[in-house]
């Protein structure tokens, strides 16, 4: 494992250098604060942020992407036959993601790379991607990542971890991918003090997180007990099904597939979808198994906090980033819902 230390004044130069061999995504300051997105040439990932409105999800599961193209022109050979679209093989790096957002990528992987099927669009992006984390010294009040099996300094899903140590960023290359990136960026090697400093910062940061969720009892309840619990309609009462939580969430993976045609040329594409929308699950007949708005809200929380838990037996489908909490227009708080579920005692 290689220690890293880079002066903040050298950061932009290192990023310029690394862009010769990597396409970067990173935090960018916009009108309403920072977001996370693909960077244009010459743009530098801005590590001096507190939160990014959107997460790294966009990098492995773009909001919209073309899957196939085709021609409907019967005079052309191969008309009406779907063709794969080319993929840019340039290595990519997500620079400056929070360590718990990297855990979200691993959660997405469970859905898109299964034993039975591999989603080729996700897979090639995932394999091509280096995750360069930026630890969080001052987690926000809505951050509850430490109770989701991760945290502001979690190294487990990253290739490189960096942390703010005053006038420099210190860190470690954690994997082979990470070492390659560090070499390409020309990160200077850190001294033996780096490890101790990281541990100190980690302890301080984790200590600042006061917000927690528990799901120990959710684990033991049956799906039907929780599904039929009496509190759902009330818990979802304020929800306007806008879907903001699903788009901002780094682990919400649902998507839609649509054909779009211009003239005789068409594409099949996939777009983010949201379980908050009625169109998501309505049948052609008009019958919708989740017709009531509150039923859709219930499905989202049940998916994240129970169905996923039971299906993969590896924690909840949430990394505690707090985006849904701070961005919800009606103040629905997943921490409260989780607590309500965990405290529920089904009547016998």
């Amino acid at each position: 494992m290689k220690m890293i230390s880079i002066k903040k004044s050298d950061w932009a130069g290192a990023m310029e250098k690394v862009q010769k061999s990597y396409r970067l995504a990173g935090p960018v300051k916009e009108k309403k604060g920072h977001t996370f997105r693909e960077l244009k040439d010459g743009e530098t990932p801005d590590l001096e942020y507190s939160e990014t409105r959107m997460s790294v999800k966009e990098v492995v599961l773009p909001q919209s992407e073309v899957m196939f193209s085709y021609s409907l022109d019967e005079n052309k050979e191969g008309h009406h036959i779907l063709e794969e679209v080319p993929f840019d093989e340039t290595p990519r790096a997500a620079v400056g993601i929070r360590p718990y957002d990297a855990k979200a990528v691993e959660i997405l992987k469970k859905n898109f790379m299964t034993e039975d099927y591999k989603d080729p669009y996700f897979e090639r992006r995932y394999e091509n991607l280096t995750l360069v984390g930026m630890a969080e010294n001052n987690p926000s009040p809505v951050n509850f990542s430490t109770s989701c099996g991760t945290g502001p300094f979690d190294e487990s899903c990253l290739d490189i971890i960096l942390a703010d140590a005053g006038d420099s960023y210190i860190g470690k290359a954690l994997t082979e991918k990470g070492e390659k990136f560090a070499a390409a960026a020309g990160f200077a090697e850190g001294d033996s003090g780096v490890e101790a400093k990281l541990a100190e910062l980690k302890e301080q940061a984790e200590g600042k997180i006061k917000s927690k969720v528990s799901f120990d009892k959710i684990e033991k309840m049956t799906i039907l007990d929780l599904y039929e619990a009496p509190f759902w309609e009330e818990a979802a009462f304020a929800c306007i099904n806008c879907g903001t939580c699903t788009y901002a969430c780094p682990t919400c993976w649902c998507f839609d597939i649509q054909d779009e045609v211009k003239g005789k040329d068409g594409v099949r594409m996939r777009n983010w979808d949201t379980c908050m929308s009625e169109v998501y699950s309505v049948h052609t007949t008009g019958h919708d198994p989740r017709h009531e708005a509150w039923q859709r809200t219930r499905n989202r929380f049940m998916h994240k906090l129970k169905y996923y838990l039971d299906k993969y037996e590896d924690g909840i489908m949430c990394v505690g980033c707090g985006r849904c909490v701070s961005q919800c227009p009606v103040n629905i708080d997943i921490r409260k819902v989780c607590q309500q579920m965990n405290d529920y005692e089904p009547s016998k």
């Binding site: 080729p120 198994p289 129970k306």
Partner: protein, 283 residues
Amino acid sequence: MRAANPYKPYPVRIDEIITETDDKLLKTFKFVFLNPEDEEKFAYKSGQFAELSIPGQGEIPIGIASSPTEKGFVKFTVFKAGKVTSYLHSMKVGDVMGLRGPLGNWYPWEILEGKNIFIVGGGFAYTTLRSSIKMMIDPANRSKFGTIDVVYGARTPGHLLYLDELNEWGDRDDVNMHITVDGTDDPNWRFHKGFVPQIADKVAPPASDDTYAIVCGPPMMIKFTQPVLDKLGYKHDHIIMSLENRMKCGIGMCGRCNIGKELVCKDGPVFTLEQINKTPREY
């Protein structure tokens, strides 16, 4: 080498279109693969479905109506209802489109071999049941099963699918066919009149450890068939059902078809009633 892209359909050509019902809302489409080697890759079992993929329109999940014992083509019976199915109904023999699959699980033939089979079907959900019956009565397979009883109902005689076959199977002594319609004014109607659950009550083979019911039909039919099977003593792990939900990917990734933690497209569409009892009935 990367595995084949599971979203990429096999190119197929429409080889034959049969209008099945008097109201012309159900048509059977027979497809042949443009690349003959794709037929082998499409090896399927009765109860599975596929995405019919029309460039420019989209995809729809439809149960496979042909039987694995039928070679050289794949058959689907499609109800004209939404955007894609309406377009499909306007297509003609020779048109090229796509077929993606086979998808989902199948009726549990590994368990069903050696058992008596009671098939209860209604309306246009009969398609995968047709596949199953055709497969079981194939000379190579018939001896692998015990008795085969079938109750199949539609609203009127004009709504029954695969009429020629029904008549042919009705004449066999190794299948007990019980065709019924909700009502008809045809004086020469020679089969049952009445709803599927009522007929099932009268003709069902006795419940036993060796008898399985496969139930497939509209929600109302399923709702009223279940108490009948309960009364007759069918255990819930001996009642097999096929579910439908809105789908896109068909491979368990896009999310929408879930009933609880199960995805109808990948963990299903076939479930036992025992399994369904443990999950929210969001279908």
